[in-house]
């Protein structure tokens, strides 16, 4: 089972994605969590490029830099109103 078929940089990006996912879940303050989620989105884009999937990387980039923060930040602001 122990075959060295991964390049060291591939190891590094998989480990970074796992650590970033843990960081997103363990951040309890919602305003900080959306920033960490943006960072996690960019790490996922790099992972998709490493795995030779440029179409998937394009759609993740367009979605996680604009779509997610806008929707979540407006929901946070509205939920603090009353």
């Amino acid at each position: 089972m122990i075959l060295a078929t991964l390049h060291p940089l591939q190891y590094a990006i998989f480990a970074l994605v796992a650590i970033a996912a843990t960081a997103v879940v363990l951040t309890r303050d919602v305003q900080r969590q959306i920033l960490v989620n943006g960072f996690y989105g960019i790490l996922l884009v790099i992972l998709f490029v490493v795995l030779a999937a440029p179409d998937v990387a394009l759609s993740m980039l367009a979605v996680s830099t604009v779509g997610y923060p806008l929707v979540v930040l407006i929901a946070i602001a509205k939920s603090r109103d009353k």
């Binding site: 122990i2 998989f14 996912a21 363990l26 993740m60 979605v63 929707v71």
Partner: protein
């Protein structure tokens, strides 16, 4: 070890589920749900990878060079674009709950039903 990518996908799924159950804010819950969704993207793309393969685009590239599997990429990319809309629907429901019950804590919602 060569099964590391699959184990990373499994870890992301499990940690996302942990975040959903122990969450104290409805928006935090929605973001942990998107983390769990992203574990499926990582697993799909890791299954379709061919060793030494390039992207499945053949412009200027000779036909017959090794390329990765295109079918799993097509499933993943439509899924990513649709997930924003589903997240917006979940947040609209959460805002509705906040309007009715004036709280964003999942635990308190259960108590108020009394």
């Amino acid at each position: 070890m060569s099964v590391l990518p699959y184990l990373v996908a499994g870890w992301i799924c499990v940690i996302g589920l942990y975040g959903i159950v122990t969450s104290k804010h409805l928006i935090h819950l929605a973001l942990c749900l998107t983390v769990t969704q992203s574990s499926t993207y990582v697993l799909l793309l890791a299954v379709g990878y061919v060793k030494g393969g390039g992207p499945p685009i053949f412009k200027g590239v000779k036909l017959g060079t090794t390329a990765v599997d295109p079918v799993v990429q097509s499933l993943t990319l439509t899924d990513i674009v649709v997930s924003v809309t589903v997240l917006a629907l979940i947040l609209a429901l959460a805002l509705d709950v906040h309007d009715e019950l004036d709280t964003m804590d999942p635990d308190k919602i259960v108590e108020l039903q009394g």
